[in-house]
């Protein structure tokens, strides 16, 4: 059978890279004499390994921090303008209790607001896919809701809902709603019509067609939106806290700025960055778990660096 050897190789390569894709039980009798793959050099092997995904960015961060440290050490800038990285780090962990305490409401607002956005966005996207009326009615509203500067609405939320968590949650939800709903919509419409025809010829119900075809086709796109959303969620929470809140990292930051306490400002920014980063990584991990199967193995390799 033509193509057997070739795909075997593609498969074993794939299996090596991902550690899954169980090896076929009985290898084909013929075509087994494939030449052993050339052993890549040490450097190349490192660059292709998962470890490099961590080491490479860390090296880059180390370089940036070193430059930052050098600038501070040279005395070219005042300490209150740019505190040294070591000092910021010291502050981050020295005052850990304060930061942790202030982080809680911020993180809660991010979580709740983001979850709210996703929970509302997905059904709306689904409704827009299945109903032209809903799509035509909602689409312009979505655009308008997106072009209204959200930061400008924040003070309104404070007037309406006070200085507690609610305006923050709403701000977060509002700001990450749009990318999630738009990318979900794109995703739900990405299903190949032929795939839908196929399940229809099997007698699939709408429900089955949705879960067996539309949903899996949509997942990569949904996650693209969710990843943009989660990074925006942090922005939303901080903006809301800037405008007015009783507690939170944003509040801590804005207060410290008033006191010209740039060390606390930097440390707050650093903690917010850490929170945003961890959330993003968590979403990516979730994506890896939820995305069924494996897509783009061979074509990914064959398309090379283009």
């Amino acid at each position: 059978m033509s193509g057997t050897t070739q795909s075997k190789q593609a498969q074993s390569k794939h299996a090596r890279r991902t550690g899954r894709g169980a090896a076929p039980a009985n290898p084909p009798a013929s075509g087994g004499g494939a030449a052993p793959a050339r052993r890549p050099s040490g450097a190349k092997r490192f660059l292709e390994s998962r470890l490099a995904d961590w080491v490479l960015p860390l090296v880059l961060v180390a370089i940036i921090v070193a430059v930052w440290q050098a600038v501070c050490a040279s005395g070219a800038v005042e300490e209150y303008v740019l505190p040294a990285p070591g000092d910021v780090l010291g502050k981050m962990f020295g005052d850990f209790g304060t930061f942790a305490d202030q982080s809680v409401p911020t993180i809660v607002a991010i979580f709740v607001g983001f979850a709210l956005a996703v929970v509302v966005a997905l059904p709306i996207a689904v409704a827009m896919v299945y109903s032209a009326i809903v799509r035509r009615a909602i689409y312009p509203l979505l655009i308008i809701a997106q072009v209204v500067p959200k930061v400008a609405i924040a003070p309104l939320f404070i007037i309406w809902f006070g200085f507690g968590q609610l305006p923050k949650v709403l701000m977060v939800a509002l700001i990450c709603f749009f990318p999630v709903v738009i990318d979900s919509l794109v995703g739900f419409r990405a299903a190949r019509p032929e795939s839908l025809m196929l399940v229809r010829s099997m007698g699939a119900s709408r429900w089955q067609a949705f879960w067996k075809v539309r949903w899996p086709w949509a997942l990569p796109s949904i996650f693209a939106g969710v990843k943009v959303g989660i990074t925006l969620a942090v922005v939303g929470a901080v903006v809301a806290e800037f405008v007015g809140a009783d507690k939170g990292l944003g509040v801590l930051l804005i207060t410290a700025r008033g006191d010209m306490d740039s060390l606390t400002v930097f440390a707050s920014i650093a903690w917010l960055t850490v929170i945003g980063f961890v959330l993003f990584v968590a979403v990516e991990a979730l994506e890896r778990i939820l995305l069924p199967g494996k897509r783009g193995g061979r074509s990914h390799e064959a398309s090379g660096s283009l």
Binding site: M1, S7, M202, G296
Partner: protein
């Protein structure tokens, strides 16, 4: 059951128009149960449209498609469809792609899986049950699609240029496999192809369609004995039939000498 005398499948003055174009016009023909019918015709003449109407995926503009005397008004599900591309779902392994059929039909899991593995074995795919489509060659994907269409043991198998994208060698092999599987089951097959050779090699009867709007330009019975071997293609009977069908296309102006 409707009138026992009714033909198994019947296209009755089937017409399908899209806004401006009439794809198929007033087409009538019948199929017996267990018959292997091949349809050849120029590109864009309405072959896929016809198959979709048989599967109940599209409705005729006028006329009727009937199976066992009953007009097809909604997706007809005692049928397996192999599409022009393999149409495997990229996130499912070969086995899972075949099992989509039983999942949608809510057929018993274990029994379906046993059958799916058996089918994959019959088309020479054992060892590839857990491979993803992206890791399979074109011919292998098409085989998986065939297994999926056969999993529920449908009365009708509809194939739309299933082997069009394959190289000649793979195509020969898969045709032999298909013939063998058909001889074991004797299901009714409607097979659309661009290849005259393929049509004559596989079918009991070949319908030749005219350019759009499609009409039946000619009909040929293929009296060759089964199982047909690849060597049959060089035999006089085979060559004569192929030549005659090619002649029909030439008369229709679809094939012109100087282009060849």
């Amino acid at each position: 059951m409707a009138a026992a005398s009714a033909p198994f499948i019947e296209f009755d003055a089937f017409t399908k128009s899209f806004d401006a174009v009439t794809a198929v016009s007033e087409m009538s023909f019948e199929l017996e149960r267990g018959e292997f019918l091949a349809i050849v015709g120029p590109s864009g003449c309405g072959k896929s449209t016809l198959l979709m109407a048989l599967a109940g995926l599209t409705q005729p503009s006028t006329g009727q498609v009937r199976v066992q005397g009953e007009p097809v008004l909604k997706p007809y599900t005692d049928l397996g469809f192999v599409f022009q591309g393999a149409e495997l779902l990229p996130w499912r392994t070969a086995l899972q792609n075949v099992l989509l059929q039983s999942e949608i039909r809510r057929a018993p899991k274990q029994e379906s899986e046993r059958r799916a593995r058996e089918l994959l074995g019959q088309v020479g795919l054992d060892g590839f049950e857990d491979s993803y489509p992206d890791e399979l060659s074109g011919g292998m994907k098409q085989r998986v699609a065939l297994c999926r269409a056969l999993l529920h043991d449908p009365e009708i198998l509809v194939m739309d240029e299933p082997f069009g994208a394959l190289d000649a060698l793979t195509r020969d092999q898969i045709q032999i496999d298909l013939q063998r599987m058909w001889m074991e089951r004797r299901k009714t097959v409607v097979f659309v192809t661009h290849s005259i050779d393929e049509a004559v090699f596989l079918a009991d009867r070949v319908l030749v369609f005219s350019p759009r709007p499609a009409r039946i330009a000619a009909e040929f019975r293929v009296p060759l004995e089964r199982p047909r071997h690849l060597s049959a293609r060089t035999g006089p009977e085979f060559t004569r039939l192929v030549g005659e069908i090619r002649g029909v296309f030439e008369t229709l102006g679809v094939l012109r000498e100087e282009r060849k």
